[in-house]
């Protein structure tokens, strides 16, 4: 289990942590197996994600997936965001061991739930 420098940087300096009182969409997903949790708050305006915030509980990959996801989606249209896959997210964080792929899945699920 050795994590990349980028990965550790997100862990030490999470981007977009928090919640949005003015959120237009909020969703929280829990992984039924391990109990990891991700909460996403978005301000969507004219079909575009203007602000994204997240809260996360769980293993480092879950925390980092939240941070990287918010970076990825900020500024994207909801249509674009809906096309984001688990693989895209994994790529963006520089890969994860396969038994941690479900952390990325959780993030994508939370995103889809928020955009639903």
């Amino acid at each position: 289990m050795s994590y990349s420098a980028t990965f550790k940087d997100h862990l030490a300096h999470p981007r977009n942590a928090g919640e949005l009182p003015e959120a237009t969409a909020v969703a929280e997903q829990t992984n039924p197996v391990c109990g990891d949790r991700l909460r996403l708050s978005l301000v969507v305006h004219n079909g575009r994600i203007e602000v994204a915030r997240y809260l996360a509980y769980g293993c480092p990959p879950t925390l980092v997936c939240g941070s990287v996801l918010t970076e990825l989606i900020t500024g994207k249209t909801t249509t674009e965001a809906k096309q984001l896959t688990r693989a895209d997210l994994l790529n963006a964080i520089g890969g994860l061991p396969s038994r941690k792929h479900h952390a990325a899945a959780l993030a994508i699920e939370a995103l889809n739930a928020a955009l639903r």
Binding site: M1, Y3, K8, L11, A12, P14, A17, G18, E19, A23, T24, V26, E28, V33, C34, G35, R37, L38, R39, L55, A56, Y57, G58, C59, P60, L63, G66, R99
Partner: protein, 397 residues
């Protein structure tokens, strides 16, 4: 790499004492012979191994010929448990163990289970300690072995092995072929160890928890215990463990055992002072912490603390980025999805189990290390809690 590095993971392994490293380096240069060789080079190496054997024996008050050198604690645990079970001459096939053993004991018990042995795993309740009544109830006429650790590697709790030992001896006096093994890997060098007082038949040691290098350990096997060798095909260690001896490792182990015996009280007092200061400051400065395991019956150097609302590994990495090394669960189970089975065995909820960190102090740590660690810890816990959804209700607009 951060400027300052503080090692607080002495239960995972310890730095090698320079005196031990010296003894080892000398042995590499001077005693390179094969101890099985008849010539002078061989006999010199044999003599070095014998000296080390006496020191390791002295650490636990055993006789030198009751010490079997192995490649580490894991192998010693394998040899003890399989050795007794496979060497058993009775038809019985039942083992009693605890639910908080090190993965190596857990692993061998599970392997025997899939070979048809029955295994009873005793609970440890909220304090992390096995109850002697439970042992009495669990032992059946067909029980061959009780294997319960002396001190736990994650929460440091000390088990009532002397009482269990007395009970096992009672049963043996009554004619049952029952033996007691105890894994003392964490206890050695951190409390007084005397195999006579403990009353065990087999006891496991590992050098690298005693400021010696990794890759060497020992099994104490009381004279008369029938043990079937596992690594076979050589007459070393009185036919109980084949393979050319790790001479430099054994010499280092001997030196470390000697120092551990001489400096035991100093070290335990030192470690306990730091640990207690650490726990006091954490208790004062960080809300919502739970300290796991019994407060009294535990090793002096270890603190296992859960930080509510956050998960341990993220915290560990945040500390690591600031140069502070700690662990979640045992080093061996790191990388699994499951929260530590040891913490779970305490009956705590998942959040506490997943939020636990082990801080284990050692002889080279200082007061300043504690101050710095607490400072970094306070900030890291705050940062991660700010990220946690657990403390905040979900408000869907």
């Amino acid at each position: 790499m951060p400027d300052r590095r503080i090692y607080l993971d002495h239960s995972a392994t310890t730095p090698v004492d320079p005196r031990v490293a010296n003894a080892m380096a000398r042995s590499v240069a001077e005693n390179f012979g094969n101890p099985s060789s008849v010539h002078g080079f061989g006999q010199q190496a044999r003599a070095a191994v014998d000296r080390a054997r006496r020191e390791v024996a002295a650490l636990v008050n055993a006789r030198p010929n009751e010490i079997i050198f192995t490649s580490g604690g894991t192998e010693a645990n394998n040899l003890a448990i399989r050795g007794v079970c496979h060497g058993s001459t009775v038809a019985a096939r039942h083992i009693v163990t605890s639910s908080i053993e090190h993965p190596s004991v857990r692993g061998v018990c599970a392997a025997l289970e899939s070979d048809g042995w029955e295994v009873t795993r005793l609970p440890v309740y909220e304090h992390g300690i096995v109850r002697i009544e439970d042992v009495r109830h669990a032992v059946r006429p067909d029980t061959v072995l009780v294997t319960i650790m002396l001190a736990n590697n994650e929460i440091g709790t000390v088990q009532p092995i002397s009482e269990i030992g007395a009970f096992v001896r009672e049963r043996r006096a009554a004619g049952q072929k029952l033996f007691l093994h105890t894994d003392a890997v964490q206890a050695a060098g951190r409390m007084v160890l005397n195999v006579e007082d403990v009353g065990c038949d087999l006891l496991t040691l590992s050098a690298h928890k005693l400021y010696a290098p990794k890759g060497v350990g020992a099994l104490y096997a009381r004279r008369g215990v029938r043990l079937m060798g596992q690594n076979v095909g050589g007459h070393q260690e009185r036919e109980r463990r084949a393979g050319t001896e790790n001479v430099p490792g054994i010499v280092a182990f001997g030196e470390a055992a000697k120092i551990a015996r001489e400096e035991l009280f100093e070290r335990t007092a030192h470690d306990a002072a730091l640990r207690d200061k650490f726990e006091r400051k954490v208790g004062e400065l960080i809300p919502d912490v739970v300290m796991n395991g019994d407060r009294e019956r535990r090793l002096p150097h270890l603190s296992n603390t859960s930080f509510r609302y956050i998960e341990g590994e993220g915290l560990l990495i945040n500390l690591d980025l600031q140069g502070i090394a700690v662990s979640t669960g045992s080093a061996c189970s790191s990388g699994t999805l499951e929260p530590s089975p040891v913490i779970r065995a305490l009956g705590v909820d998942d959040e506490i189990a997943r939020g636990s960190l082990r801080f284990s102090f050692g002889k080279d740590n200082t007061d300043l290390d504690v101050d710095y660690t607490v400072e970094v810890l306070v900030q890291a816990v705050e940062r991660l809690r700010a990220l946690s959804p657990l403390s905040r209700p979900l408000v869907v607009s």
